[in-house]
Amino acid sequence: AYLNLDILKSIESEWRKTRCMPREVCIDVGREFGAPTNIFYKPPCVSVYRCGGCCHSEDKQCRNISTGYLSKTLFEITVPITQGTRPVTISVANHTQCSCLSKL
């Protein structure tokens, strides 16, 4: 018997779509930078690329092999509000190349 080529094609396309590569994600700024618990960011998240996707073996993990940094400007609110709200610029890691690296 021969494997239906359409099945093979659709499986290859799914495998390509789910490979380990930089993917757009939302990063919670307060959590990423360990901000004090009386500080809020507006917006609370920024959009950057981080490595994601699946490796075809459990001993591998999808990791960044090259990384840049993006500047993002946000409003920073400090409570109590009397301390005011100000625009701040932060530098956030942005993965540019990924690979399935061995865990061992």
Binding site: R31, P36, N38, I39, I77, P80
Partner: protein, 193 residues
Amino acid sequence: NEHGLETILVTRSSTHITVPCLVTVPDLNVTLHYPPILEQSGITWDNKQGWSIPRPIIDSATMLIGFHCAATLGGKDYRSTNYLIHNAGSQVYDVKLFPEDPVELMVGEALTLNCTASVEFNTGVDMQWSYPGKQTNSYVEIKPHREPLSHATEVVSILTIHTVNVTDSGPYFCNVTSMDRTQTQQTQVIVHE
């Protein structure tokens, strides 16, 4: 403020928020500018208070910046400062300091204290420690963390001294200050030679 930005607070009980564009010319035609929102009805003008926006409209907006008022008088355009809307809680439900029992250590061991408070969503709290080492500035690491859960937000401050000294013995206080008050928890640390 000096950044051309005012923050309007929305508390849990607010049914409306007011963009406080005050005018000296009572019948001046003042327009409200705001980010793309779904529903416009219910937004009303009162020349003594400013523009009033119903709470559901705020809740459904994707972003809460870009609110400002504009008017034209004598052919000249005027524009208010920019307003940013911030949901703010105020309640601190409880504060705990772990371990709760006194801590006994040998010189050179590591000390980790975990101060955890459960607070109303969007409540900002300032978490400060006071401890013997603060004066003798022995090397102390303090890590904050904020985690919104299903019914409240958990705010945490973790104090770590990697290698304690006898001078690190004594009372450790975790002070949690919200908008209206400070709550404190304490534990005792004893370092043996």
